[in-house]
Amino acid sequence: MMNWLYQLASPKLFYAMTNRLVVWLAVICTVLFTIGVIWALLFAPPDYQMGHNYRIIYIHVPAAGLMEGCYYLMSLMAFSYLMWQIKMADIVAEAAAPIGAMATALVLVSGALWGKPTWGTYWIWGDARLTSSLIMLFIYIGIILLREAFESPESGAKVSAVLTLVGLVNIPIIKYSVEWWAVLHQPASQLSMRDTAANPPEIWVPAFIVGFGMIAFFFWVLTLRVRNEILFRERKAQWVRQLFDGSPQHA
């Protein structure tokens, strides 16, 4: 297990080990999204209050999970990079940030589209859940921009890793905002196994399928981006040159 981890920490071995992985992740992602979205949009029953409006949760909630999960991974990578100077950790953190920013934007937009017909407004200033989610988007964008703001890649990597760890304080604020303060946003649903209770399986199972699809999507796109970044950073290395031997631009 440790040996396997050490191999992943080497850009060259990571590249070699993920050749097949990206294909598998693409297949899993496509299958789960297809099943999940068709089930969620066509077969899940309409809600007794909101009718079909509520179906936005099948995008909104998985996207919110990705927003948080991506940040946990980036924090772990930022810590590993600061602590042990693992180059791969920095590459993963850099590759993950735009995916997390995209997920956060999706959460905000889908929430707003649901809020208009349900609450009567797209946005309400001062709601702790909404505000902390918007701050999350700014943190993601800040992490992406800060890296670019430095001449040397090492300084950019270090400072953006520090900002990533600083931004971690926002995660529990997002999660518990609906419990700590009076807000418009509803708290987390208590899922039930019974068909006759609130939030029965017929409603939440498709959400989980889309959610697992979202996880596969994340690791698929992340692996592609990491492989790209590895090639760019190691472009002068022997093994990358060999990889492209015979291709037109290097012939």
Binding site: P46, V169, W180, V183, L184, A198, P200
Partner: protein, 163 residues
């Protein structure tokens, strides 16, 4: 662990702990201001000046809704089951608006003690259920709210849980 790593870990943990404490204390100090709305009890206790622009959150009291009929002018009471605030509003109500529904209203209390709302928002709860199950439960004489409450607390849905 090598000494310089130990030092580095110390710095990271120190910064993280200091930052968490700063944020925690700031939020604790601001906790009253972070709340999106006042409750009818807070209004009854005189925490709000007349004319002050605020939000009030509560349930639309059963049997309190009155519509002018020839205009969009409506009157109802927002309640937290301890105190009521009479509310006047002129405009289009959200689809989910009905008696017993959690709402958030924006506006100010006038001299007569009536809250003149400029905006009414419906608060949605966290319970989703299909229309068929809901109809079946009603036919069986089980109130879905009570049924739903088996998983949640018994506090009104618009209030944050007691800590």
């Amino acid at each position: 662990m090598k000494p310089h790593r130990k030092k580095k870990l110390g710095i990271i943990l120190f910064v993280a702990a200091g930052l968490s404490m700063t944020v925690g204390l700031t939020l604790f100090a601001l906790s009253q201001n972070i709340d999106l709305f006042y409750t009818p009890t807070q209004v009854a206790d005189g925490e709000v000046e007349p004319g002050q622009h605020i939000r009030i959150g509560g349930m639309v009291k059963e049997g309190s809704f009155q519509s002018a009929g020839d205009s969009l002018s409506v009157q109802f009471a927002a309640t937290d089951y301890a105190h009521d605030v009479p509310i006047h509003y002129e405009g289009i109500l959200p689809d989910l608006f009905r008696e017993g529904q959690g709402i958030v209203v924006e506006g100010a209390v006038d001299e007569a003690g009536i809250f003149q709302a400029t905006r009414v928002l419906a608060k949605h709860d966290e319970n989703y259920m299909s229309a068929e199950v809901k109809a079946a439960l009603e036919a069986a004489g089980v109130a879905p709210e009570e049924h739903a409450a088996s998983g949640a607390g018994s506090r009104p849905a618009f209030l944050p849980p007691e800590s």
